[in-house]
């Protein structure tokens, strides 16, 4: 009986409560939106959306009221350039999925690899992480398979509990095409940056030709380029400026080259990694290119990271660049659930804690074109809300309530179940 009760409670919590009206009152609210920071505020949620936010909000009689006195309410956190849900186990130090098929690079869509039942997802959710920009990792190719510079399509997902209802977590597929234009991309192109630029220009030209007339493309040349029809078709939205390239690039000169190429080819780019982006901050700002920085990066991991510094975020922000943070996905997978500590650490180096919080909430939503749906606490947006026991960037703070698309999430996960199974041995 107790078990049955528990199950039904869990199901209740997990089911998106479309009809439920919830009011969170007396919280310190960091809206990241037009309402700014509210020392004491309320947020009203109905039909999975935020309907009101402010210091004073009229609470309907039928609303379930959550008294959040002493707690801090923020938008849910987004894990950006993440391998979330892609691997059962990730393999020593590396995460993600990639295509090793030479005829499937740009068209490879990692969204199909997301497993909504991965234990990684609840483990991230209980840390207040509610969305992810899932990105392929072209390093995750098979043994002896050739390197690829196009890694494939990134997707925005939510991390809500689907229960046993089936379905998927997709919010927006194909939000960006991943491209490695650093040392690895150069190696994939045959050993130099110069070779990579030539190959990219050829690929863009072929995609334009393909867009004009799909039957006009010479199959022999496709083989030479290792670009299949599917890959050319996937490049079309990029060359037409409808989908950005998410370019993994770190050395200052490589970033400069990418910006030049983007201007010449009239393609939109988002820089990912960007160890030395601070050295070309003005140029990046002038090009209105956002940067998803590896905020932890102050390691000269390879030669292209020689000038990596924790100051990167503040210098870029001060230059007017829109920044978000990503974990070091390509290397070590820790922190895929807790972008908040990346933000907190970076706030020691000139970025204010508020700007650091924006870099894991509103900014990634803007960068990937989904800020009409989430990223801030504003009427009309999905109700992705987290109540924290204190400052969300602090080591001593925990999430007390996590709501995704209006549904309060169970604060359960595999790691907590293991804890509860064994805690009797020490308590």
């Amino acid at each position: 009986m107790i078990r049955a009760l528990f199950l039904s409670a869990a199901l209740l919590a997990a089911t998106p409560a479309a009809a439920e009206t919830v009011a969170i009152v007396n919280a310190r609210v960091l809206t990241m939106g037009a309402a700014g920071d509210l020392p004491t505020g309320a947020v009203l949620v109905r039909d999975a959306k935020i309907v009101a936010v402010g210091a004073k909000v009229a609470i309907p009689k039928d609303a379930r009221v959550i008294d959040a006195r002493g707690q801090i309410l923020t938008p849910g956190i987004t894990a950006t350039v993440s391998p979330m849900g892609l691997n059962d186990t990730i393999g020593s130090g590396y995460g993600g999925r990639g295509s090793s098929n030479s005829l499937l690079t740009a068209a490879f869509d990692v969204n199909e690899d997301v497993n909504p039942n991965s234990p990684q997802i609840p483990e991230a959710r209980i840390e207040g992480t509610t969305r992810a920009v899932v990105t392929p990792n072209p390093q995750m190719r098979g043994p002896n398979a050739p390197a690829r510079f196009f890694g494939g399509q990134a997707a925005v997902i939510h991390l809500g509990d689907l229960g046993t209802q089936g379905g998927d977590l997709t919010v927006k597929p194909r939000v960006a095409l991943y491209l490695d234009a650093g040392e690895m991309g150069a190696s994939a192109a045959g050993g130099s940056r110069g070779a990579l630029t030539v190959l990219l220009k050829q690929a863009f030209a072929d995609a334009r030709a393909y867009a004009r007339n799909p039957t006009s493309v010479d199959p022999a040349r496709l083989e030479e380029l290792s670009l299949s029809r599917a890959d050319l078709a996937a490049l079309v939205p990029v060359v037409q400026g409808r989908e950005p390239l998410l370019v993994e690039v770190n050395r200052a000169s490589d970033i400069h080259n990418v910006l030049e190429l983007a201007r010449e080819e009239k393609v939109k780019v988002i820089i990912s990694g960007g160890s030395e982006a601070w050295m070309v901050a003005k140029e990046i700002a002038a090009a209105k290119v956002p940067v998803v920085i590896d905020a932890e990066e102050n390691q000269a991991f390879q030669w292209e990271n020689l000038n990596a510094t924790y100051e990167n975020a503040a210098i870029l922000h001060d230059a007017g660049v829109l920044v978000a943070f990503k974990p070091s996905v390509a290397r070590i997978v820790f922190l895929i659930r807790t972008p908040r500590f990346l933000a907190g650490r970076t706030a020691r180096f000139g970025l204010s804690p508020h700007e650091a919080l924006a870099a894991i909430t509103l900014n990634p939503a803007k960068i990937f074109g989904v800020d009409d749906r989430f990223g801030s606490i504003e009427p009309g947006k999905d109700a992705d809300l987290v109540l924290w026991s204190g400052d969300p960037l602090e080591t001593t703070t925990v999430a007390r309530m996590v709501m995704i698309r209006g549904a309060e999430q169970p604060l359960t996960a595999r790691n907590r179940a293991l804890r509860d199974r064994y805690i009797g041995s020490v308590k």
Binding site: R28, D37, P39, T89, I90, G91, S92, G93, G95, P119, Q120, E123, W278, E297, N298, Q299, A300, F301, Q302, W303, L306, N307, A308, T309, Y310, E311, I315, S328, I332, V333, F334, L335, T338, F341, G344, R345, A347, R348, F349, G350, P353, H354, L357, G390, D391, P392, L393, E394, T395, T396, T397, V398, N415, L418, R419, Y422, I423, S425, V426, K427
Partner: protein
């Protein structure tokens, strides 16, 4: 060692029955240099000697001594490289340089008991040998011979308050060689960093890394256990052959074997045994192995499943060297990982430490401890800030075997001291000053006191971070 007794008895009998009038025994044949390990037991000696330092008095600080409760409004006096006094009311000698630490915090220097810095260098190609995981006869290697002291991450770690580092060989083999413990000071070669008197460690490994496939690999976990046992059998025999030769005093010495020498050192307790091991079942196998051959395990490293056997580990007095717990699922043997791992071991009465294994994480071991503490508190385990501070100071000093010399702020110990701009358990805290053996090795406000490695000199253009006050955090209006 029981096996030694009958042989010793035999030798004694021979001596007693020797005729008194016989010629004196022939002089022992001289042993050529390097063939008798006891002739030169420390062949790569430390040359580290701290520079002379004067007296420094910190006043009005919040102090975590790692040897008792937090001291509010505390003072710390360091003199001649040692802690001279600590407490709320201590003598304030006129010759001491006074540092007003109002609003600031003091801890012992951070100690990382598990790093690969310098051996797996940054950038990767700079050191060129990737000795972390490769090499012939890995059990015989001494990782100090791979440490590139110009790795710029030593400076980054020092700026983050790391004063002592144990560097381990990798985990690709059952026996991976000797560890080395360094003071985090600039030096041309590792000899200039080696922690004087620190014991060596033997790095062993269980599970996926040494099992794997490929030539020289154990193939299965059972194959791994056979490999450990065969090697310990060989090491016992090797130790016995040297003991016999010493007792005999004549004839050729046994042929030196660097791997068996290290394993024999682990068997007799001179070398601490550090075992890379994730799963609880494998830790239990290793405990039984240690009982079979009569050696002590100093610590299980990574040990993500320590939470399943915390009371056993406490009873066996085996330390747990681990992370906060979000390194889960990155490999199958890391599938069961909880944030409360350290807190479980603490609560069971065991010895637990944070470790980095990674040069980025090495720069925030204090935060790693704080997060593990928070998880413990949330689970009702009563984990305290003092315990969390011990996880990155005195406890790793105990694991390495240098706790008599450093790891806590107690009179007579090394003045390895970090002055923080905020609570060191806060995400926003950064070191303002770092002292190693009483010498100021890092000053955030003075770029001249921020040494740069040869590798970066004239090569990099990294900005110097200005000394800024710690941010106030999101709990209050900005």
């Amino acid at each position: 060692m029981l096996a030694a007794l009958p042989l010793a008895g035999c030798a004694t009998t021979k001596a007693e029955t020797r005729p008194a009038a016989a010629a004196p025994p022939p002089a022992p044949k001289p042993v050529r240099a390097g063939l008798d390990p006891t002739a030169r037991p420390d062949p790569f000696p430390s040359t580290y000697k701290p520079a002379p330092s004067g007296a420094v008095l910190f006043v009005n600080a919040t102090i975590y001594t790692a040897a008792g409760p937090r001291i509010d409004g505390g003072a710390l006096l360091i003199r001649d490289g040692k802690v001279a006094a600590v407490g709320q009311d201590i003598p304030r000698p006129a010759d001491a340089t006074v540092i007003d630490a109002t609003g600031r915090w003091i801890t012992p220097g951070i100690i990382d008991p598990h790093a690969h810095i310098g051996a797996g260098s940054s950038p990767g190609p700079a050191n060129g040998d990737n000795s972390n995981e490769n090499g012939p006869n890995p059990g015989g290697i001494w990782i100090e011979h791979s440490v590139w002291t110009q790795d710029p991450m030593f400076e980054r770690a020092r700026e983050a308050g790391v004063t002592t580092i144990q560097i381990l060989p990798g985990s690709a083999n059952l026996f991976n060689g000797r560890t080395v413990t360094l003071k985090n000071v600039p030096a041309v070669a590792p000899q200039g960093m080696k922690f004087p008197g620190a014991p060596y460690g033997l790095k062993m490994a269980c599970g996926e890394n040494p099992t794997g496939g490929g030539p020289g690999k154990a193939g299965t976990r059972a194959g791994g256990m056979m490999g450990y046992r065969n090697t310990f059998i060989a090491a016992q025999a090797y130790a016995q052959s040297w003991a016999d030769w010493k007792k005999r005093g004549t004839g050729d010495p046994p042929r030196r074997d660097l791997m068996l020498e290290t394993v024999a050192g682990a068997l007799n307790g001179d070398i601490k045994v550090h075992i890379h091991c994730y799963r609880a079942d494998e830790m239990i196998q290793m405990i039984d192995l240690s009982h079979e051959f009569g050696f002590r395990i100093a610590a299980f490293h990574h040990a993500l499943e320590a939470f399943k056997i915390a009371p056993l580990l406490a009873k066996e007095q085996i330390a747990v060297v681990t992370w906060a717990g979000d390194w889960s699922g990155y490999k199958m043997e890391a599938y069961d990982s909880i944030m409360e791992n350290a807190a479980f071991v603490q609560k069971a009465g065991g010895l637990v430490t944070m470790h980095s294994d990674n040069v980025m994480l090495m720069q925030h071991l204090n935060q790693e401890a704080a997060r593990a503490m928070t998880a413990g508190r949330e689970a009702g385990l009563g984990t305290t800030p003092e315990q969390a501070v011990a996880w990155f100071t005195i406890n790793p000093a105990k694991v390495i075997g240098v706790a008599e010399k450093t790891g806590s702020l107690e009179v007579g110990k090394a003045a390895d001291v970090v002055l923080w701009d905020a609570d060191p358990l806060s995400v926003y805290a950064l070191p303002d000053l770092v002292f190693i053996d009483g010498v100021l090795r890092y000053d955030r406000a003075h770029p001249a006191k921020q040494p740069q490695s040869d590798f970066e000199l004239g090569n990099t253009k990294r900005p110097i971070s200005p000394a800024r006050p710690a941010p106030r955090g999101l709990g209050v209006s900005q």
